[in-house]
Amino acid sequence: MPAYLLRRLFQSALILLGVSLVTFILLYVLPADPVRQIAGRSATPQVVENIRRQLGLDQPFLVQYGRYLWGLLQGDFGRSYLQKTDVATLIAARLPATLQLMGGAILCELVLGLTMGIVAALRRGRALDQGLMIVSFVAVSAPQFVVSLLLLYVFAVKLGWFPIGGYGTLSHLVLPAVTLGILGSGWYSRMMRSSMIDVLRQDYIRTARAKGLTRGRVILRHALPNAILPIVAMIGIDIGIFMGGIVVVESVFGWPGIGQLAWQAIQRIDIPIIMGVTMVSACAIVLGNLLADLVAPFIDPRIKLK
């Protein structure tokens, strides 16, 4: 195990290195000049040049990348071009909010998605199954912005059950997490349904039923662990999708997460922030996948960590 873990961690480090290099290249060749953004419209060419030199952006690519990497190794993510603040500080200030939201949302997603998937599989072909299918497709097809705003409007403005956006308490978390949960549950429910149907016709399910186990136990104890394996891999993947998709929900609910930071940075080509957020989310994704891989053998003993 530790050997496996070490090897995987080493691989993860390589992946992160790759991510940093590719992102750096992409941002380098991007047809837009960050300095002009910083300098603003009234800057004289001299001022622009000064800023470029100050930021080291006049250096060749490899030097810039080398410097960045060197800083990264020392835990220095660089300074934001436009906010003139440590990127690490900026990210650290927002990371807890994002993690909270992600945790809450994944929980909602799983609870909603798995339940829907299981129920649909059990009611296969009936009206309820069809209904749930439509629901799950609505969930994946729905524009995030509209759903977020709709939920906010109904549950916060009209009913007043939750605050209209903001961050801090659990009641602030509920709406954005549920929104993301609803939007993401479609995937899970379809995957779960498909996987569950497969499992339900295995011989061992018949054995379990022959033992006179309750329906609940047959489903939860026998079918679920077998069916959930592909879903576990999904959760790892989901973190990546999340990092990209969290922006809209964060901004509608005024949730001070990384998504908004990244969004603004992308709009203004604040490269250190883009790099920082990319690295952090890449870390999260890599860790999520590692975790999913580590958990898999506990669910299915046939899987061996090699």
């Binding site: 419209r41 001299q46 901004s251």
Partner: protein, 520 residues
């Protein structure tokens, strides 16, 4: 000429203002977007200031000033007894320090260029000096600033945020993070700043202007969608949505008298325009540019943005001094436009590209422009890109046409010169400059320089006339299609008090924090 505050104003209370974007920095040398502009104005002061709600200059930290005969030397007398938020008294040394700081390359101030007329600017910006030669501390209460050339806008420059006076010790203590721990002399001090969530401004009880500010504190909540901010306003949780009324809600709000009553409308120093790259065929042909000017249906474009603007005739907005009254601009005349195109040899039109920033409503406006152009046979493909990409394309001269919306000119200060230099003058036409038309007319440039050397306040009329001529000259050459001047609509909660002009203050968006108050 000073301002008489509202007699009904009462001190106390707190208000909440929301923004979508996070506040980038409160460092006056760095902050250069409209959102932190007004915030910095309330935390810091410069030597000069504006009368609230107007574009009229008034002394700020300077009690008074003298301008030498040749207009090259400004001597400012500082107000006594002004203290920074850290309790120390502000002295002339601080003014010099602040001006040095903003012009030093290390500071990376986007506003350094504004100070180019001060003697010694070139030396400091190429690194051969560390202090501005032209700024002298005469005594603790007197600063003398010498210019290398006459500059009629200099007092406006001294009212810019970039010219704010900062205390050296606080800047040095905060190091690079001064923008997050600002210390100034302003009406408010920064109380709390939770990154990405909220900022709280607290009243500076020792503020040197008597009676103001009224509010005890201002809470800025960031990261909020404008639409949600409006919902919260309607719910009584927010006092002013900083990003204004979202277009999607505008008609709804205006249709409801109870809400419309709380909307303040005003002009702003803004012009939305299309740049035509005069160095690229076919826009190198004046007739083509004139044809384009005649093809655009400005009336319809204003309709598309729900009438939140007035059609523009010239580069300057109507509220800007120097605006040429009575000038009709190019008429909307499709037939004549076609004829002009034909004369230029493009009877069948041509294909080109129109760059636009990708935030609503700009792509929409671009599409309206596209349709207008198609009426005279010009097929413009739209390139709707992120702001940075448009600026890049404009700067390197690869964009034949750019719709300026979203990146457009909101004046830094209310002076006609502010609309010329970087965006219409030869200096801005260089590679990377902001003159996206790459328009450069030596004669007009000379006239502009002449106007700006008329620093004598007595000759202000004459100067404005000169500027008016410059812009008329520009219109003749038609490097731009001025489309509209945006109107400002600020919505406020019912409890907000203060004159309407404070809510459409031309230099403090969305509101002039120092003078507004709450009525309950």
């Amino acid at each position: 000429q000073d301002y008489t505050p509202d007699p009904n104003a009462r001190p106390g209370g707190a208000i909440t203002i929301t923004y979508k974007d996070d506040v980038a920095t409160l460092d006056p040398a760095i902050g250069y977007d409209w959102q932190n502009w007004s915030m910095i104005k309330s935390i810091f002061d410069g030597l000069m200031d504006y009368v609230p709600g107007t574009t009229e200059l008034r002394p700020g930290l300077a009690e008074g000033y003298e301008i030498s005969e040749d207009g090259l030397t400004y001597t400012f007398k500082l107000r006594p007894g002004v203290t920074f938020h850290n309790g120390r008294e502000m002295v002339a040394e601080d003014v010099k320090y602040s001006l040095d700081r903003v012009t030093l390359p290390e500071t990376q101030s986007p506003g350094a260029g504004f100070f180019a007329s001060i003697k010694g600017f070139d030396a400091i910006s190429d690194g051969s000096a560390t202090t501005l030669e032209g700024v002298t501390v005469v005594d603790p209460a007197t600063v003398r600033i010498e210019l290398s050339r006459p500059d009629a806008t200099f007092l406006h420059v001294m009212a810019l945020n970039f010219a704010s006076v900062v205390p050296k010790e606080a800047v040095e203590a905060a190091g690079a993070d001064f923008g997050k721990q600002p210390v100034g002399t302003g009406a408010f001090r920064l109380g709390e700043w939770t990154l990405g969530q909220r900022l709280v401004f607290e009243k500076n009880a020792d503020y040197w202007r008597d009676g103001v500010p009224y509010l005890d504190s201002i809470v800025f909540e960031v990261g909020q969608e404008p639409i949600v901010a409006l919902l919260r306003l309607q719910n009584g949780e927010v006092d002013v949505p900083g990003d204004g009324i979202p277009p999607a809600k505008f008609t709804e709000v205006m249709a409801d008298p109870a809400q419309a009553e709380r909307v303040v409308e005003g002009g702003q120093l803004h012009t939305g325009y299309i740049t035509l790259n005069v160095t690229q065929p076919p826009f190198d042909d004046l007739k083509v540019r004139q044809a384009v000017n005649m093809a655009i249906n400005k009336q319809r474009i204003t309709q598309i943005i729900n009438g939140r603007a007035v059609p523009a005739t010239q580069p300057l907005p109507p509220s800007m001094p120097g605006y040429t009254e009575g000038y009709e601009g190019y008429p909307h005349d499709v037939e004549k436009a076609k004829a002009l195109l034909a004369e230029a040899g493009f009877a069948d039109g041509f294909e080109t590209e129109l760059y636009v920033m990708n935030t609503d409503p700009n792509p929409r406006i671009a599409q309206a422009i596209q349709q207008d152009l198609s009426q005279i046979g010009i097929k413009a493909a739209i390139q709707s890109l992120a702001q940075a990409n448009v600026i890049e394309a404009g700067g390197n001269g690869s964009a034949p046409m750019i719709w300026s919306g979203g990146m457009a000119w909101i004046a830094d200060f209310p002076d006609p010169s502010n609309f010329y230099g970087p965006i219409l003058g030869c200096a801005g036409a260089a590679e990377g400059g902001w003159n996206w038309s790459k328009f450069c007319d030596e004669a007009l440039d000379a006239k502009a320089t002449e106007a700006d050397s008329l620093a004598d306040p007595a000759r202000a009329e004459e100067r404005l006339k000169l500027w008016s001529d410059v812009y008329m000259g520009v219109m003749e050459k038609a490097p731009w299609v001025p489309v509209f001047n945006e109107q400002r609509y600020t919505m406020k909660s019912a409890r907000m008090g203060g004159d309407d002009s404070l809510y459409v203050d031309p230099v403090s968006i969305p509101v002039n924090y120092d003078y507004v108050f709450v009525t309950e």
